[in-house]
Symmetry: C2
Subunit: 632 residues, 2 copies
């Protein structure tokens, strides 16, 4: 805009003005490196090349809203979405009466899908022949726009002409059809899916099983294909092998189309939580990026399945989110306790066998949970029948209470989620208190190593040598070892994961953390635009972080001690590339070599030393001989 202004306004001589702008760019961005300077200079030149006159009609008389503009949400959306959220999307939120808004601030979930943003210029396009059906593209997609399904061939009878499919390769799915479908209107075009695709097109080595192509020509056809795809049946959850990504990624995501940056490194972890546990999850979300893209008005990306089950989500403050989430756990446990008392008191009326089955259900896996859901459905039927038969008011009141609490018999999954600013810094005192409580909560730290949402300030998670606000000369101290701190408790499950480095390890950690009957902490490496990286290849940055030893993969499982094993399992290999090869892929580190080369050199040496020290220490800890529970 500045370039255009000085090119046409005549305030200064055009050439003179442009030269000033370019000098200013050189001065401002010099410390970020020549590459950044050149990109900005190119932007000026390209602006000038594309500057052209737009003829504006002198009068404009159209009713509001303009009939030629499509409504902000589809006509098929529910009334609240059309009449309230749609108005906000159209920028007319201030015309809404107060009475249009939910009285208690509770918003319906699953509304992001009605806001078709169409922001991607290019979208991934699936090549049925090259695809190995590994599910990696589905797993990494930050906006849940790539999905896969397997289904009977009969389902294809009503398929649109352009709908793609092939034979399922998995032995478990012999005879079924397989499709990868993209929601092209929701895609941001980040290209991460293409980057992680391991398949090679042998005839055209430049191509993979999924490749970027312009969106506009495909928009209409893919819209129909997406709608058709959504109507295909979802797989039978209890029969999926959740340890295989290709099967696990068939689980319906209950977090989709968020407002996160294109290529976001955090959202794939949230999507994973939503797939695995979303239909029985409660989520306490700390202030930060995830509270913004996870709960930004007017729409919300958290959603529910066809049965109406999905995460209950709420945001709390930086300084109390862990405690907030612990409150979920405490209240669930208390309500479940009360429900159990009522159930025992009403056992003869409701049937001893059903009551005992409900109270003693193990609920270790999906199949168990499905069985318990069936029992609770039976219980609710029994309650309804009883309510119609009984006139005693005391008894009736007990049964009413049980009715309102019956869903508590299905195991709930409590998640406490936030970024490193929350977990390492402002909310750390509370996080520590919650971990020390011994209660069954799952803490997920989306670790971008910097305050991303608030503007790039250093946190205690920021690695040594990274440039951030309050660390303009590179952070002088090493990254705080939050995982090691949590391990000092002994009864906290702790995992450090990086999806881009080892996706199956990430999946395993999430499954173990949730299954562990105590506090769990997952620290998830999350690349971020604040790192100064190419977001389309950001999963490679994750891999480099692990390959250099800057990020360790491990799982500390307290239950292993009972089996006479060391609870700490180091899942990384020894560092195989020098730290600088990982660090200098990222401008947050590289820029210091321009602005303060001497400091950069010293900090790199110290950071390499940190990595060596930490690796050796973790090796030593993980090598501790196994002991029996009694002796340990």
């Amino acid at each position: 805009m500045q370039v255009c202004f000085f090119a046409v306004s005549g305030v200064l001589e055009k050439e003179d003005a442009i030269a000033h702008i370019k000098r200013s760019i050189e001065k401002t961005y010099r410390k970020k490196g020549d590459e950044i300077v050149q990109m900005n200079l190119n932007a000026v030149d390209q602006t000038l090349e594309n500057l052209h006159e737009v003829n504006v009609q002198t009068t404009l008389h159209t009713p509001h809203p303009t009939p030629s503009i499509k409504p902000p949400v589809a006509d098929t959306a529910p009334p609240f979405v059309r009449e309230v959220l749609g108005k906000m999307i159209a920028g007319c939120g201030d015309r809404l009466p107060v009475s249009a808004l939910p009285v208690d601030g509770t918003y319906p979930t699953g509304t992001a899908k009605y806001e078709k943003r169409n922001i991607a210029q290019e979208i991934p396009v699936w090549d049925t022949d090259v695809c190995v059906q590994c599910g990696k593209c589905v797993m990494v997609c930050p906006h849940s726009v790539i999905r896969s399904k397997v289904y009977d061939v009969e389902a294809l009878e009503t398929a649109p002409e352009t709908f793609k499919h092939t034979n399922a390769r998995d032995h478990d799915w012999q005879g079924l059809k397989f499709t990868i479908q993209v929601a092209v209107e929701d895609c941001t075009g980040c290209g991460i899916c293409v980057d992680v695709c391991p398949a090679k097109n042998k005839s055209q080595p430049r191509l993979k099983a999924i490749n970027m192509n312009p969106q506009p020509p495909l928009r209409e056809s893919e819209r129909s294909n997406w709608d058709f795809f959504l109507d295909l049946p979802n797989p039978d959850r209890p029969s999926l092998n959740l340890h295989k990504i290709s099967q696990q990624q068939m689980q319906e995501p209950l977090f989709e189309f968020s407002g996160a940056c294109a290529g976001c490194g955090e959202t794939p972890y949230l999507k994973l939580v939503s797939q695995l546990f979303g239909d029985r999850a409660l989520i306490a979300n700390a202030t930060g990026c995830s509270s913004i893209y996870g709960g930004n008005l007017p729409t919300t990306p958290w959603t529910h399945n066809a049965e109406g089950r999905g995460p209950a989500w709420s945001n709390s403050l930086f300084e109390d989110n862990a405690e907030f989430g612990l409150g979920f756990r405490v209240s669930i446990d208390k309500q479940r306790e009360f429900a159990s008392e009522l159930l025992q008191q009403l056992a003869s009326e409701l049937g001893e066998e059903l009551v005992n089955a409900i109270l003693n259900a193990t609920q270790h896996d999906e199949a168990d949970i499905y069985e318990q859901r069936d029992r609770v459905a039976l219980l609710k039927e029994g309650i309804q029948t009883l309510l119609e038969q009984i006139s005693d008011n005391t008894l009736k009141s007990k049964i009413q209470n049980l009715k309102s609490l019956a869903d508590l018999f299905v195991k709930k999954s409590v998640w406490i989620i936030g970024g490193d600013g929350w977990a390492y810094d402002i909310g750390f005192g509370g996080l520590d208190h919650v971990l020390a409580s011994g209660r069954n909560v799952n803490v997920l730290v989306l670790d971008t190593e910097v305050y991303s949402n608030t503007g790039g300030q250093m946190s205690k998670s920021t690695p040594r040598g990274a440039v951030a606000k309050f660390a303009a000369g590179g952070k002088p101290a090493p990254k705080k070892d939050l995982g090691l701190i949590a391990m000092t408790y002994g009864n906290v499950y702790v995992a450090s994961v990086a999806m881009g480095a080892r996706d199956e390890h990430t999946l395993k950690a999430f499954l173990e953390a949730e299954a562990y009957d105590g506090p769990s902490l997952i620290i998830a490496y999350s690349h971020c635009i604040a790192h100064g990286i190419d977001m389309s290849t950001a999963m490679q940055n994750q891999k480099a972080a692990v390959d250099s030893g800057r990020w360790l993969l491990y799982r500390y499982h307290p239950d292993r001690r009972q089996q006479g094993a060391n609870p700490l399992q180091l899942d990384s290999h020894a560092p195989k590339i020098p730290l600088e090869r990982s660090m200098y892929l990222e401008n947050r580190f590289k820029m210091l070599t321009k602005s303060q080369p001497e400091a950069a050199k010293r900090l790199l040496e110290e950071a390499q030393q940190d990595v060596n020290t930490r690796w050796q220490m973790y090796q030593y800890l993980a090598a501790r001989p196994t002991q029996t529970a009694r002796e340990d």
Copy 2:
């Protein structure tokens, strides 16, 4: 009072009323054990035995204050103490005008000595012949009422007749006289000094070198002896061997006569800080017992030496005290930086040699610091001369600034102090942040393992199995390992000490922590009335805690890594008594065996398991092979 009331009022039949009271006692204290019940029953019986009529005159006409009652503070006290604090002591604080109080809330220190409470029925009496002059009684005294001095024999010329002395035994003090003197009017009679006295009176095995005797007969003579003792010269600080308790304890305490409980386990550590570093210390004190007895109106126990040097002390909140203390450090460093700039700018006027000596002074030990104080005195003289000679206003203003900052050239010692409620719980987030800052602050945690001042609530420091508020059934989780958490940073000096178990270890840790140029954390086991123990033998409880492995002694010194050594040094021996022998010395554990014997048994087993696990883990950590700094 209740017993007296029902014995004389006739509201109920006396025998009936007393029987009810006794039944109530049995019910209330049953869970604390038979011993406690019996003690309370005895109190009832003894009350009845000692109940006698007091004849009250029907009229009472005396002016206020009663002339026969001594003034609350001595006439020799400074005017502010007499006229303001004295009024408060007399209970007439509400008659003071607002203008009598300090405008900014700053109170003079060293005022507790004017409040002679005379609360001890028995006081320690020194036996010159039996004493080995070890200094232990001086070290453990919670109220700094036992002191020792060595001095030339000439000083005895004006000594009161009853003043005791003997020949100094230390080789460094050949030819000098030695005295241990008690401030009998300030003593609380706790008897801890007698308990720790290692000397035996061979002729009367029941007696030691210090023994309890009734106070009243000795009050007058010992008052004179105390005053005479105070006037004896203090030892030359720089020439004391601070690694020997007998010599170190000659340092003047700058914390005395506090309002802490008789036998307090916290105050000996505070006194030690005041002796070692008090003349250049700034103390940030978290809410808790130490903020109450350390800063209770009307008087304050923090004091200053004859040169007017003593700790600057302030109290801050549970939730921000670490940050509050860090602020001291940051402002000192900034002011010192500014002072250094000014000094360099004025070098030619003030003399290059002096300026360089001041700027490059090492200040590693007492002797260094005394030399620097001398240099600063010279500097101040130079500044004064300059100010009188110079008329240039810019220069004058610089010199004025330097004058106000000159004292900053003497190394300051920043202490951040609080209890476990602060350090493990409410202030932990801030404490972690301060430790992570890498700045040179010293954190002292007075660990009573329970919220002592606020009424005995469980903290994360409370050990498994201890009964506390919110843990009526015994704390189900193990004690949080704060030291291990701090060690994860690698650059934090961490020590775990227990004066009653190994006093020289405590002394060494305090010296190392303060000398370390970075953050230091000392976790100090502090016995407490809340433990349900005999306070006169409480140092034995400390020893038992260490002997059983329930409390470890260790020092983690980051600098050891540079010497190729393991930074962690485990200073405890392997547990040599079963945990229950330590736990069941204390009613906080024992009472559970009465109220919930099954739970007590299970918790004891688990707690023993905790001890074993922790001991083995620390052994493993401390056994890590030494490495060079480059490889480590």
